[in-house]
Amino acid sequence: NAGVTQTPKFRILKIGQSMTLQCTQDMNHNYMYWYRQDPGMGLKLIYYSVGAGITDKGEVPNGYNVSRSTTEDFPLRLELAAPSQTSVYFCASSYSTQNYGYTFGSGTRLTVV
Protein backbone atom coordinates (compact mmCIF):
# COMPACT_ATOMS: atom_id res chain seq x y z
CA ASN A 1 0.00 0.00 0.00
CA ALA A 2 1.21 3.47 -0.88
CA GLY A 3 -0.98 5.07 1.81
CA VAL A 4 -1.80 8.72 1.08
CA THR A 5 -0.07 10.23 -1.94
CA GLN A 6 0.09 13.96 -2.58
CA THR A 7 1.27 15.75 -5.69
CA PRO A 8 3.06 17.98 -6.34
CA LYS A 9 5.58 18.15 -3.48
CA PHE A 10 6.50 21.75 -4.22
CA ARG A 11 4.90 24.54 -6.21
CA ILE A 12 5.39 28.25 -6.71
CA LEU A 13 2.35 30.20 -7.87
CA LYS A 14 1.94 33.79 -8.88
CA ILE A 15 -0.82 35.86 -7.28
CA GLY A 16 -4.10 35.22 -9.05
CA GLN A 17 -3.12 31.86 -10.53
CA SER A 18 -5.06 28.70 -9.83
CA MET A 19 -3.99 25.16 -9.15
CA THR A 20 -5.20 21.81 -7.92
CA LEU A 21 -3.43 19.85 -5.20
CA GLN A 22 -3.91 16.15 -5.75
CA CYS A 23 -4.50 13.59 -3.02
CA THR A 24 -5.19 9.91 -3.42
CA GLN A 25 -5.34 7.04 -0.93
CA ASP A 26 -5.39 3.29 -1.48
CA MET A 27 -6.58 2.19 1.96
CA ASN A 28 -10.31 2.38 1.15
CA HIS A 29 -10.79 5.01 3.85
CA ASN A 30 -14.11 6.83 3.76
CA TYR A 31 -12.87 9.91 5.59
CA MET A 32 -10.48 12.36 3.99
CA TYR A 33 -9.21 15.76 5.07
CA TRP A 34 -7.19 18.75 3.96
CA TYR A 35 -5.11 20.69 6.46
CA ARG A 36 -2.75 23.60 6.09
CA GLN A 37 0.24 24.23 8.30
CA ASP A 38 1.84 27.64 8.45
CA PRO A 39 5.49 27.87 9.58
CA GLY A 40 5.92 26.93 13.24
CA MET A 41 2.19 26.48 13.68
CA GLY A 42 -0.32 23.72 14.13
CA LEU A 43 -2.62 22.32 11.49
CA LYS A 44 -5.85 24.01 10.44
CA LEU A 45 -8.69 22.02 8.87
CA ILE A 46 -9.68 23.37 5.44
CA TYR A 47 -12.22 20.83 4.15
CA TYR A 48 -13.18 17.28 4.86
CA SER A 49 -15.18 14.48 3.30
CA VAL A 50 -17.00 11.55 4.88
CA GLY A 51 -17.42 9.67 1.63
CA ALA A 52 -17.69 9.98 -2.13
CA GLY A 53 -19.96 12.86 -3.07
CA ILE A 54 -19.98 14.40 0.42
CA THR A 55 -17.79 17.33 1.45
CA ASP A 56 -17.98 20.02 4.11
CA LYS A 57 -16.08 23.06 5.31
CA GLY A 58 -13.57 23.06 8.11
CA GLU A 59 -12.04 25.92 10.08
CA VAL A 60 -10.42 27.84 7.18
CA PRO A 61 -12.26 27.06 3.90
CA ASN A 62 -12.15 30.51 2.25
CA GLY A 63 -10.26 30.54 -1.04
CA TYR A 64 -10.45 26.77 -1.51
CA ASN A 65 -12.76 24.21 -3.05
CA VAL A 66 -12.85 20.44 -2.97
CA SER A 67 -14.58 17.55 -4.67
CA ARG A 68 -14.86 13.86 -3.88
CA SER A 69 -16.01 11.92 -6.92
CA THR A 70 -14.37 8.66 -5.80
CA THR A 71 -13.37 7.09 -2.49
CA GLU A 72 -9.71 7.30 -3.47
CA ASP A 73 -9.34 10.92 -4.60
CA PHE A 74 -9.84 14.21 -2.78
CA PRO A 75 -8.34 17.12 -4.76
CA LEU A 76 -8.06 20.63 -3.31
CA ARG A 77 -8.56 23.55 -5.67
CA LEU A 78 -7.08 27.00 -5.12
CA GLU A 79 -8.68 29.73 -7.18
CA LEU A 80 -7.04 33.17 -7.41
CA ALA A 81 -4.02 32.35 -5.25
CA ALA A 82 -3.03 34.90 -2.60
CA PRO A 83 0.18 35.26 -0.55
CA SER A 84 -1.83 34.29 2.56
CA GLN A 85 -2.18 30.82 1.03
CA THR A 86 1.55 30.22 1.24
CA SER A 87 1.71 27.15 3.46
CA VAL A 88 2.30 23.44 3.61
CA TYR A 89 -0.81 21.47 2.71
CA PHE A 90 -1.43 18.02 4.13
CA CYS A 91 -4.01 15.56 3.00
CA ALA A 92 -5.06 12.83 5.42
CA SER A 93 -7.45 9.91 5.59
CA SER A 94 -8.97 7.82 8.33
CA TYR A 95 -10.87 4.58 8.67
CA SER A 96 -14.09 5.38 10.52
CA THR A 97 -15.95 7.67 12.90
CA GLN A 98 -14.06 6.01 15.75
CA ASN A 99 -11.06 7.71 14.25
CA TYR A 100 -8.26 5.27 14.79
CA GLY A 101 -5.86 7.96 13.72
CA TYR A 102 -5.17 9.85 10.57
CA THR A 103 -2.74 8.74 7.92
CA PHE A 104 -1.11 11.81 6.42
CA GLY A 105 0.44 12.36 3.03
CA SER A 106 3.92 13.85 2.76
CA GLY A 107 2.56 17.32 2.01
CA THR A 108 2.68 19.98 -0.69
CA ARG A 109 4.78 23.07 0.00
CA LEU A 110 3.10 25.99 -1.78
CA THR A 111 4.54 29.47 -2.17
CA VAL A 112 2.47 32.30 -3.64
CA VAL A 113 4.50 35.25 -4.88
Binding site: G42, V50, F90, N99, Y102, F104
Partner: protein, 112 residues
Amino acid sequence: GQQVMQIPQYQHVQEGEDFTTYCNSSTTLSNIQWYKQRPGGHPVFLIQLVKSGEVKKQKRLTFQFGEAKKNSSLHITATQTTDVGTYFCARPYRGTASKLTFGTGTRLQVTL
Protein backbone atom coordinates in the same frame (compact mmCIF):
# COMPACT_ATOMS: atom_id res chain seq x y z
CA GLY B 1 -14.41 26.63 22.29
CA GLN B 2 -12.14 24.66 19.99
CA GLN B 3 -8.85 25.95 21.37
CA VAL B 4 -6.33 23.32 22.41
CA MET B 5 -3.39 24.78 24.29
CA GLN B 6 -0.13 22.96 24.49
CA ILE B 7 2.76 23.80 26.78
CA PRO B 8 5.59 24.34 26.47
CA GLN B 9 5.89 25.66 22.92
CA TYR B 10 9.53 24.59 22.78
CA GLN B 11 11.87 22.54 24.91
CA HIS B 12 15.56 21.81 24.51
CA VAL B 13 16.95 18.87 26.49
CA GLN B 14 20.18 16.94 26.72
CA GLU B 15 20.01 13.38 25.54
CA GLY B 16 18.98 11.16 28.44
CA GLU B 17 16.83 13.78 30.14
CA ASP B 18 13.09 13.36 30.44
CA PHE B 19 10.53 15.48 28.57
CA THR B 20 6.85 16.22 29.12
CA THR B 21 4.33 18.13 27.04
CA TYR B 22 0.87 19.06 28.24
CA CYS B 23 -2.37 19.56 26.36
CA ASN B 24 -5.18 21.52 28.01
CA SER B 25 -8.79 22.04 27.00
CA SER B 26 -11.45 24.27 28.53
CA THR B 27 -14.11 21.67 27.74
CA THR B 28 -14.45 17.94 28.34
CA LEU B 29 -13.05 15.81 25.55
CA SER B 30 -14.51 12.55 24.27
CA ASN B 31 -11.02 11.48 23.25
CA ILE B 32 -7.61 12.88 22.47
CA GLN B 33 -4.93 11.84 20.01
CA TRP B 34 -1.20 12.46 19.84
CA TYR B 35 0.93 12.88 16.75
CA LYS B 36 4.64 13.36 16.09
CA GLN B 37 6.02 15.40 13.22
CA ARG B 38 9.71 15.16 12.42
CA PRO B 39 11.35 18.31 10.97
CA GLY B 40 10.30 18.62 7.33
CA GLY B 41 8.00 15.63 7.65
CA HIS B 42 4.34 14.91 8.07
CA PRO B 43 2.41 14.14 11.27
CA VAL B 44 2.40 10.51 12.32
CA PHE B 45 -0.28 9.09 14.59
CA LEU B 46 1.02 7.89 17.95
CA ILE B 47 -1.98 7.03 20.10
CA GLN B 48 -5.59 7.71 21.03
CA LEU B 49 -6.86 8.05 24.61
CA VAL B 50 -10.53 7.62 25.39
CA LYS B 51 -11.11 6.75 29.04
CA SER B 52 -10.90 9.05 32.05
CA GLY B 53 -7.55 8.61 33.80
CA GLU B 54 -6.25 6.37 31.03
CA VAL B 55 -2.50 5.71 30.89
CA LYS B 56 -0.85 4.08 27.89
CA LYS B 57 2.80 3.31 27.26
CA GLN B 58 4.80 2.88 24.09
CA LYS B 59 8.38 1.99 25.02
CA ARG B 60 9.78 5.23 26.49
CA LEU B 61 6.60 7.23 25.80
CA THR B 62 3.83 7.47 28.42
CA PHE B 63 0.50 9.06 27.56
CA GLN B 64 -2.07 10.14 30.15
CA PHE B 65 -5.65 11.38 29.92
CA GLY B 66 -6.84 13.43 32.88
CA GLU B 67 -9.56 12.26 35.24
CA ALA B 68 -11.79 15.12 34.09
CA LYS B 69 -10.92 14.45 30.43
CA LYS B 70 -9.84 18.05 29.97
CA ASN B 71 -6.11 17.55 29.80
CA SER B 72 -3.54 15.11 28.59
CA SER B 73 0.20 14.66 28.74
CA LEU B 74 2.98 12.93 26.86
CA HIS B 75 6.09 12.00 28.81
CA ILE B 76 9.29 10.73 27.23
CA THR B 77 11.78 8.99 29.48
CA ALA B 78 15.48 9.27 28.71
CA THR B 79 15.17 11.20 25.45
CA GLN B 80 17.17 10.23 22.40
CA THR B 81 18.06 12.27 19.33
CA THR B 82 15.46 10.27 17.42
CA ASP B 83 12.78 11.92 19.59
CA VAL B 84 13.42 15.30 17.93
CA GLY B 85 10.29 16.77 16.38
CA THR B 86 7.03 18.50 17.18
CA TYR B 87 4.41 16.72 19.22
CA PHE B 88 0.79 17.63 18.66
CA CYS B 89 -2.31 16.70 20.56
CA ALA B 90 -5.58 16.68 18.65
CA ARG B 91 -9.18 16.79 19.82
CA PRO B 92 -12.48 16.22 18.03
CA TYR B 93 -13.55 19.22 15.96
CA ARG B 94 -16.93 20.55 17.05
CA GLY B 95 -17.58 17.40 19.01
CA THR B 96 -17.34 15.09 16.00
CA ALA B 97 -14.80 12.33 16.49
CA SER B 98 -14.07 11.92 12.77
CA LYS B 99 -12.60 15.43 12.49
CA LEU B 100 -9.74 16.80 14.51
CA THR B 101 -8.55 20.17 15.76
CA PHE B 102 -4.82 20.16 16.40
CA GLY B 103 -3.03 21.81 19.26
CA THR B 104 -0.29 24.36 18.81
CA GLY B 105 2.39 21.72 19.27
CA THR B 106 5.52 21.37 21.38
CA ARG B 107 8.82 21.37 19.54
CA LEU B 108 11.43 19.14 21.15
CA GLN B 109 15.12 19.55 20.47
CA VAL B 110 17.54 16.94 21.84
CA THR B 111 21.27 17.46 21.88
CA LEU B 112 24.13 15.15 22.83
